[in-house]
């Protein structure tokens, strides 16, 4: 009986189970809405399968367009979860407790759309398994296959581990389908031994996942940087892409948090302080992003290799100037001006900044992929690219399907970690006090 009481969520945290146990009608409407886009994307894909990639706007020499842009973008967003949550966990940032799960779910779900984007881009998706049958390990694309599959595995485990105690809570509440929670709960009874084991496993995964996540986006950048093409062949691309990935990842996390806070009335758990702290992180990333972008473009400009300059000017003042400068405004001007001041670093302020960053980071990927391809070294094969409805449909459909799956997750599992919040309330508060004390010189209590 004693353990039962311990396991049951505090009545205070009852709210967190609510989205799982009851579903409002508006959920179905919104879900249908997203699924409608999924259907559009599905038909677009069928059309592409039937007729070939000719139904897209791709051409010679712009062989890559929206799909590869989406690939880099989605893989970038996946850095929201695992990386941010792992770093916050390892730093003992106590404000992390109510946001880590929301972040980790983004990672796992969005990875499928990153991989999906590449599959959309293949001329022969039916031969996909050739990458296992006859792999060429000199190809950066194969490095991608390796690092992304490791990443997906690791971040799924990393999402699942902290989920076990919450699944057990749902199981004990008789949440349906009962078999799901019984099976996934792995017989969790919150014994001391189990808890110790779980915490150790989470700590190991948190350490492991950081180098894996960094390797993933570095390798994604190498797909471009390993070629000799103008403005792709750059050694800064690895760290530049990682910074951009974390940047767009934090931004997505903020947007998602604002939505679940609103929809599930979680104002007590996702407080302005969370948005403030994430907003500060986003600000740091915006400044870092600017630094990398500046370094990259200045180096190109100063070196003034003619073939690089052609691409450079097409971005700054040529055909791709509009996406380029929108990117600059949305990735730097808007977020920095909103986030640098305490007054505008509110929930609304951080959400506006985050939406803007996500638009900007998508455009950044676009202005990396397309301008280089449209202006190869030899002056003959120039070309321009504008997408067709097929690519736009699949892109929008991917975004909508991601949001649908995210909604679905919140209906099966608590989106704010119940046990971690409880642990914070019960254990972390005294722990922090002891920790802060340990930083200070020993108190000499006058013996009275």
């Amino acid at each position: 009986m004693e353990t039962d009481k311990e396991r049951a969520p505090n009545t205070q945290d009852w709210k967190l189970l609510h989205p799982v146990l009851a579903t409002r009608r508006s959920f179905y409407y919104l879900g249908m809405c997203f699924l409608a886009f999924t259907v559009v994307a599905f038909f677009a894909w069928l059309r592409q399968l039937r007729f070939g990639l000719g139904v897209t706007g791709l051409n010679v020499p712009v062989y890559w367009g929206f799909y590869i842009t989406n690939f880099v973008f989605f893989i970038g967003i996946s850095h929201a979860g695992t990386l941010i949550s792992a770093i916050l966990r390892l730093c003992h940032a106590e404000w992390r407790r109510s946001i880590t799960r929301a972040a980790e779910v983004i990672t796992v779900l969005v990875l499928f759309f990153g991989v999906g984007s590449v599959i959309m881009d293949l001329g022969r998706p039916d031969r996909l398994l050739n990458v296992l049958r006859s792999p060429n390990f000199r190809s950066p694309l194969l490095w991608d296959v390796c690092s992304i599959s490791v990443y997906l595995t690791a971040s799924t485990i990393y999402l699942y581990l902290p989920l076990i105690p919450d699944i057990a809570i749902l199981r004990d509440h008789g949440a349906r389908p009962t078999f799901l929670y019984r099976w996934l709960g792995l017989g969790w009874r919150a014994t001391v031994k189990q808890k110790r084991f779980l915490n150790a496993a989470i700590a190991v995964m948190a350490v492991l996942v950081i180098p894996i996540a960094i390797s993933v986006h570095t390798v994604v950048s190498w797909v471009f940087a390993m070629t000799v093409q103008p403005m792709w062949h750059s050694s800064i691309f690895g760290p530049y892409f990682v910074v951009g990935a974390i940047f767009s990842g934090i931004a997505s996390l903020i947007v998602v948090m604002a939505l679940i806070r609103r929809i599930y009335f979680l104002q007590d758990y996702l407080k302005p302080i969370h948005f403030n702290n994430l907003g500060l992180l986003l600000l740091v990333m915006a400044l870092l992003w600017f630094y990398f972008t500046f370094a990259e473009y200045l180096t190109t400009f100063y070196g003034s290799d003619p073939s690089h300059l052609v691409v450079f000017y097409s971005k700054l003042s040529g055909r791709y100037a509009v996406p380029f400068w929108i990117m600059f405004v949305t990735c730097f001007v808007i977020p920095v001006s909103l986030l640098a001041r305490r007054k505008t670093r509110t929930i609304t302020g951080t959400v506006i900044a985050s939406v803007s960053v996500n638009i900007g980071m998508w455009l950044e990927r676009f202005t990396i992929v397309v301008p280089t391809l449209s202006q190869p070294r030899l002056p003959w094969a120039k070309g321009h690219y504008s997408p067709t409805w097929v690519e736009v449909g699949i892109t929008v459909g991917f975004g909508a399907t991601f949001m649908f799956l995210y909604m679905l997750f919140t209906k099966f599992f608590p989106i704010v970690s119940i046990w971690e919040v409880q642990e914070g309330r019960e254990q972390a508060v005294p722990e922090v006090v002891t920790r802060v004390r340990s930083y200070l010189p020993e108190e000499t209590v006058p013996s009275a």
Partner: protein, 238 residues
């Protein structure tokens, strides 16, 4: 072992496009309908490209036939995730159509943009279907294809030489584009044989290669008409 290479004399080329047509028929290169061609979907393994020189009114157009240059150090073969493209011991960069997954990484890694993608199922107008070359497979939609230096001709020439119990001689094997060239602007042969025509021409003072500075070591060598000024990307700003 020979190292096959091509020499193209730009002073002789008349831009008649015979090489393009010969390649098209020899290798079953699909005919792209005009509206697709306007969208940049032309497939041609060799193209005669205009290189403009000087300024108006003293403007000259120098035609430059450009097949795959068959680099000795090809950037395209490294990046293929499934090893569907490779360089054979005789220096020919080849594509395995049946293995290609159509990711188009090689097309993007090629600095010469000489790799083509099948955007649709290949189509041949009525009479062409009957004139397809039985020695060359028709590529399915969704794969990358490229110049093979008419490799099927090499196989035939080898068989013939073996049947006649002799070594392969110069001129036994030449690709369709070289064979057809009415201006005699194209030469083909073994670059490693110091006495071959191509090796002699390649040593000459007029010889140069495209984008030599990238270290790709192309085996298609041009003979300049005057001083070469192309390929530096400068012409692109206009």
């Amino acid at each position: 072992m020979p190292r096959w290479g091509m020499v193209i004399d730009l002073a002789k080329c008349t831009a008649c496009q015979a090489c393009v047509v010969a390649c098209q028929t020899e290798n079953n290169v699909p005919c792209v309908p005009p509206e697709q061609a306007a969208r940049g979907r032309i497939i041609s393994w060799i193209s005669v490209l205009p290189q403009l020189e000087g300024e108006y009114p003293r403007l000259t157009m120098r035609p430059t036939p450009l097949p795959c240059v068959h680099c000795d150090n090809p950037p395209c073969i490294r990046v293929c995730p499934v090893g569907a493209t490779g360089i054979n011991p005789e220096g020919v960069v080849r594509q395995i159509f049946a293995r290609c997954i159509g990711c188009r990484y090689c097309t993007n890694a090629c600095p010469y943009t000489r790799r083509m993608f099948n955007w649709y199922r290949p189509e041949f107008p009525g009479e062409f279907t009957e004139a397809l070359n039985p020695d060359v497979s028709v590529r399915p939609k969704g794969v990358v294809e490229k110049c093979t230096l008419c490799h099927h001709r090499l196989q035939k020439a080898r068989d013939q030489a073996r049947a006649q119990n002799r070594e392969l001689a110069e001129g036994d094997y030449i690709p369709a584009c070289v064979e057809i060239c009415p201006a005699g602007a194209m030469y083909f042969g073994d670059l490693d044989d110091p006495n071959s025509t191509v090796a002699t021409l390649a040593r000459g003072r007029r010889a140069f290669r495209l984008l030599e500075e990238l270290g790709t070591k192309p085996k298609v060598i041009y003979l300049a008409q005057g001083e070469w000024s192309g390929g530096d990307g400068q012409g692109a700003r206009t």
